[in-house]
């Protein structure tokens, strides 16, 4: 549609900024580079808001917002059906994602002006931020799964660059490698899934896949592997890619380590954007999942539920504030995944609530992005003030950092699910959807919600209350460039819950009025208050209750503190089994057989070239002789053979 013709600028501008900052950044001053990056992103954000405003004010067709593709050009055409296109797809969820990504990214850009002030490689940092924003925006507006995959990988690469930004720090390098390898491993599944899906359906196009015109079940009928149908394999493998990016159990191990990156990066990548890519992927293909492969959806629910509980337990005992937030993120993403998983149909109206989870998931994605970015940015301000990530170095900071304190508290209340903050509304819808599916999932997720409230307030009290740690210099409030994003996000967090989200994003596209189910809401508020109360009792005043409690559950505490030894298991499997029994023989083969062949070729080349060098004598007469005899020889051979 013509009115969205300008939408390509949203993709073009960050790309241009990356190129400019990447190539010419070192010639600019820090200030210029930062302002260039930030102002560019400001323009993109404004454009994204205009897109959203125009899109959601378009007249609905049959009560549904039409899917708009302002651009969709053929990039590579191999055969009639194998076509790779690049384009821009606008539908309610992609427009919503545009808003989320640009908002958070803009906040991070502004915040970084203060946080990264004076760092070496400041310009490089902004170049990478632009690249990341470009990749993420390209991912959400992808018109087909292959374009999504391209940007998906770009997101992986740019997050690798950002996590490893402090490339002189050993742990940062290790963390970036780990993040890249784990997500890349998951992407292998994603790629196989894409190939399976498009092999059967003969299309990459999201619209064709989701509007029911091709059926994966029909096209892949009768094919199965290990007792599971090919359709399920395809969709499960695609989910594997999503699980890698969204840090779902057991592929979650990279996210806590990724906290080695600069804190604003954690806010951008590991709170609001990249980690929800998996959720977005499932939501994008939601009609395929819910209608054609409900068994995979069940599997997704189980994975999500395990992840949610696991991450929440681990978050309760971590002492590094960014790690707590990392595990909290994993747990919250799992909430969204579960919400998608418990859907039973596309319906969402007065007759059926099968698709409630979809709406709830997207709603939570939106609210979570805002308050989790707020939490990370707040954590950044705290770390900036006390120069440590450890809770023990904090305590009693509320007097020194009032703005950070209040905004952090708002975010904690939101994530704990206390009304009227945004998290309450979205989480409540998720719980309602879970209870709709079965009481088991409802109770499970309520329990996790309680744990969430507990560990978030444990964090809050440890930072801002409790015993005041000894500081080298008095902590001070962060500069304005850092507090303004905090305040902005805090305001959003306060009011986002009142957005009539069901009017915009529902599985069928029809408008839906969110109404609170007070049984569920009451339970969730009660359980959140219990969690908060417990945390208050334990951590508000300095005392020895936490230690005693930890002692009483010694083994559980140790296990949780070591994240149930998952990293160790991975290390064991990779180092002891894969490296030794698979990689070592392959390396031998490579070194001796492959390299041997190459070396042989090299030797032969050297030998031959040495021996024929006389041919090039520099004497004209011999040139003529070779010329003539060459021609005669060829003629002779031709005559003999023909």
């Amino acid at each position: 549609m013509e009115i969205f013709n300008y939408s390509f600028i949203i993709l073009l501008l960050p790309m241009l900024m990356f190129v400019t900052l990447g190539l010419c950044g070192h010639k600019m001053s820090h200030r210029t580079a930062g302002m260039l990056g930030t102002s560019g992103l400001f323009i993109i954000t404004v454009l994204a808001y205009i897109v959203a405003a125009q899109y959601f004010t378009m007249p609905r067709i049959d009560g549904v917002f039409a899917t708009v593709t302002p651009y969709n050009f053929t990039w590579l055409q191999f055969t009639e059906s194998l076509i790779i296109k690049l384009g821009i797809l606008l539908d309610p969820i992609s427009v919503m994602m545009l808003v989320v990504i640009t908002t958070v990214s803009l906040m991070v850009h502004i915040y970084s002006l203060g946080y990264m002030h004076g760092e070496t490689g400041f310009q490089r940092y902004y170049a990478f931020l632009s690249l990341f924003t470009f990749s993420m925006l390209g991912l959400v507006v992808a018109t087909n799964i292959f374009q999504m995959y391209i940007f998906w990988e770009l997101v992986g690469a740019s997050s690798y660059l950002l996590i490893g930004f402090y490339y002189t720090k050993q742990s940062a390098v290790a963390a970036s490698k780990k993040a890249f390898i784990v997500t890349r491993f998951a992407d292998l599944g994603f790629l196989i899934g894409i190939l399976l899906l498009s092999f059967f359906t003969k299309t990459f196009d999201f619209e064709t896949l989701t509007n029911g015109s091709v059926s994966l079940i029909d096209t892949a009928a009768g094919k199965s592997f290990l007792g599971i149908s090919a359709a399920s394999w395809a969709m499960a493998l695609i989910f594997m890619g999503g699980a890698g990016k969204s840090a779902m159990f057991p592929l979650h191990i990279w996210l806590p380590d990724a906290m080695e990156g600069p804190t604003p990066v954690s806010a951008l990548i590991h709170a609001a954007t990249m980690v929800v890519a998996g959720v977005y992927l499932v939501a994008r293909l939601f009609p395929v999942y819910v209608i054609q492969t409900p068994d995979v959806l069940m599997f997704i629910t189980v994975i999500g539920a395990i992840t949610a509980l696991y991450a929440a337990i681990v978050a309760c005992v971590q002492t590094d504030i960014k790690r707590v937030l990392a595990f909290s993120t994993i747990s919250q993403i799992a909430f969204m995944i579960v919400a998608l998983g418990v859907c039973t149909s596309m319906e969402l109206d007065h007759e059926g609530h099968g698709g409630l989870g979809y709406m709830a998931s997207m709603f939570h994605l939106f609210t979570h992005a805002m308050f989790k970015a707020l939490l990370f940015l707040g954590a950044g301000a705290i770390i900036h003030a006390v120069h440590s990530n450890e809770m023990s170095a904090m305590g009693g900071l509320r007097k020194y950092m009032p703005i950070t304190h209040i905004t952090f508290l708002i975010a904690c209340l939101a994530i704990a699910g206390i009304p009227p903050f945004s998290g309450f509304f979205s989480k409540d819808e998720i719980l309602a959807a879970a209870f709709d599916k079965s009481a088991f999932w409802g109770i499970w997720m309520s329990l996790v919600a309680g744990l969430t409230a507990f560990y978030m307030f444990r964090l809050y009290f440890n930072i801002f209350w409790g015993k005041e740690a000894h500081h080298e210099h008095t902590p001070h409030e962060a500069p304005k460039t850092m507090t303004i994003p905090l305040l902005f996000l805090a305001v959003v967090t306060c009011f986002a819950g009142f957005i009539p989200f069901g009017n915009f994003v529902t599985p069928t596209g029809l408008s839906y009025d969110i109404h609170l189910n007070w049984t569920v809401a009451g339970t969730s508020i009660a359980i959140a208050i219990i969690g908060i109360a417990l945390a208050t009792w334990l951590y508000m005043k300095p005392n020895d209750k936490p230690t005693r409690m930890a002692d009483s559950m010694r083994s559980l505490h140790t296990w949780a503190y070591h994240r149930f030894y998952f990293d160790e298991i991975y290390l064991f499997v990779t180092h002891k089994i894969i490296f030794r029994y698979i990689c070592a023989p392959i390396a031998w083969f490579d070194r001796h057989i492959i390299d041997g062949t190459m070396n042989l070729m090299a030797t032969a080349t050297q030998w031959a070239s040495y021996h024929i060098r006389g041919l090039q004598s520099g004497r004209l007469q011999s040139y003529a002789v070779v010329f003539l005899f060459g021609a005669l020889l060829v003629a002779f051979i031709v005559l003999c053979c023909m």
């Binding site: 011999s622 040139y623 003539l628 060459g630 021609a631 060829v634």
Partner: protein
């Protein structure tokens, strides 16, 4: 007489007009006004290229002597782009004291050879073809010798003219054999006669020897082994811009002309020339590579590199299909950009310091980082490393040959790309890894060289990624 026939020759006529204008300008312009000569020449050629972009239709003139078609038009445009780049590249060189008095000759002679190539490509009869071939060859001798007080230059010119004469005489003999066997020199009639089963010309030894001699003559222009021996000496001795011209434009035009003739004329005996080409390609690529490995002088090095590249180009000919034609034109286009980038850099360095050995480039990255990166990109493209254009052109040309079942040939070519990677990387290694205390100092290149190198590097980076270029060529290509 019907003069409308001339309208088909719009490309030739416009080029002739450019030559004529330049000639008058050079003869009658004052010394002062001729300062802008180089710029005017480039602008005129650019304008003529733009004029040729008007889509052409297929047609023939002068009773079938002259042919034109959209594909031929595209090739001429490609050649024009390459020539334009060479001319831009030569601007700083023609300003030097030795050459400046021969500036007019340089531009006019270069364009004359281009005119000859037009005729070669567009001919419908072997006579016109031969005239085109000679028009393309003879001015080149003068160009090679343009720095006539340098020993290298006139030695190169002498070798070039002798070998050119020798190959022309063989080619003429081949043509006369063909005429003897078939009784006509029109492509169309030859094809008809050979294809006619009842006449059984297809089996005549006279024809076969004719074809082989014809191939040998063309092999000289394309520098196929064993007709390549002049290449290294001439490339080394000629001024760098002329070397660049010889290595891309002259070669590309000859390869395309060969392909058109083989497709149009000798399609019925395809099996014969395909076998001959098969062997020639294998030894061309291999021998070119084997010699390139040992070179110390960068221009000789590029000579052997261009020999092995010629082998790859012929893969498009041997395929004999429309895909083959597309990939050949595409290959030549990409090759123009990559090779001219390398030669552009060689000439910048040579003009400033006079150094042309690979060892002289040691540590170049420290002193001239941008130049080194441009050189690296161009060499990567020549070696066929993705995502640079050279990868795509190699891919398509291998694809074209493999499509017709030449698997062994493609495999040998692939093995050779590994060897070629080695020697291209030698240069990269010299620039980036080897250190030298007396490395070439930081150079300040002039605007023309900058424009030229920038265009070439952009070409190397972009052409492969823009699928529309390949598609546009493909739309007009034809097979046997």
């Amino acid at each position: 007489m019907d003069f409308s026939n001339f309208l088909w020759m719009r490309d030739e006529l416009s080029l002739l007009a450019v030559i004529l204008i330049l000639f008058l300008y050079d003869t009658f312009g004052s010394d002062k006004s001729r300062r802008a000569f180089s710029t005017v020449a480039c602008i005129l050629l650019a304008a003529q290229t733009a004029f040729m972009l008007i889509p052409a239709t297929a047609g023939e003139a002068f009773g079938g002597m002259y042919h034109t078609s959209p594909a031929i038009n595209i090739v001429k445009i490609v050649l024009n782009i390459g020539t334009l780049l060479v001319l831009i590249q030569a601007i700083p060189w023609v300003k030097t004291a030795d050459v400046v008095i021969r500036r007019g000759e340089f531009f006019i002679l270069t364009l004359m050879t281009l005119f000859g190539m037009y005729l070669m490509i567009s001919s419908g009869n072997f006579l016109l073809f031969f005239i085109g071939l000679e028009t393309a060859s003879l001015p080149l001798t003068a160009l090679v010798a343009i720095e006539k007080y340098k020993q290298n230059s006139y030695e190169a010119a002498a070798k070039y003219v002798f070998v050119a004469l020798f190959s022309s005489s063989l080619l003429l003999m081949g043509l006369s054999f063909i005429y003897g066997a078939v009784g006509t020199l029109y492509y169309h009639d030859i094809a008809l006669a050979i294809g006619n089963v009842t006449k059984s010309i297809a089996g005549s030894p006279l024809l076969y020897v004719g074809i082989v001699l014809f191939l040998a003559g063309m092999g000289f222009k394309i520098s196929i082994v064993p007709f390549h021996l002049w290449t290294a000496d001439v490339y080394q001795g000629a001024p760098t811009s002329i070397t660049a011209y010889l290595s891309v434009i002259s070669k590309g035009a000859a390869a395309f002309a060969l392909m058109v003739i083989l497709f149009k004329t000798f399609a019925p005996v395809a099996i014969v020339w395909q076998y001959v080409l098969w062997g020639l390609i294998v030894i061309t690529i291999t021998v070119g590579n084997l010699f390139a490995v040992r070179q110390k002088n960068l221009k000789r090095f590029m000579a052997f590199s261009s020999i092995s590249q010629a082998g790859y180009i012929l893969l498009g000919v041997i395929a004999g299909s429309a895909t083959g034609m597309t990939s050949l034109i595409y290959y030549v286009l990409v090759y123009i950009f990559s090779n001219l980038a390398v030669f552009g850099i060689i000439s910048v360095v040579e003009n400033a310091t006079g150094k042309v050995n690979i060892d002289d480039y040691n540590g170049l990255y420290r002193t001239n980082p941008r130049l080194s990166v441009a050189m690296m990109l161009a060499l990567f493209s020549l070696a066929g490393i993705p995502p640079f254009a050279g990868f795509f052109s190699k891919f398509f040309i291998f694809f074209a040959a493999a499509e017709q079942g030449f698997y062994v040939l493609v495999f040998i070519a692939l093995l050779n790309t590994v060897i070629s990677l080695y020697y291209y990387l030698l240069v990269v290694k010299a620039m980036f890894i080897k250190q030298d205390d007396c490395a070439i100092p930081a150079l300040k290149s002039d605007t023309a060289s900058r424009i030229n190198i920038t265009i070439c590097v952009i070409g190397v980076l972009v052409i492969g990624l823009l699928s529309c270029i390949y598609t546009a060529i493909d739309a007009h290509a034809f097979g046997m």
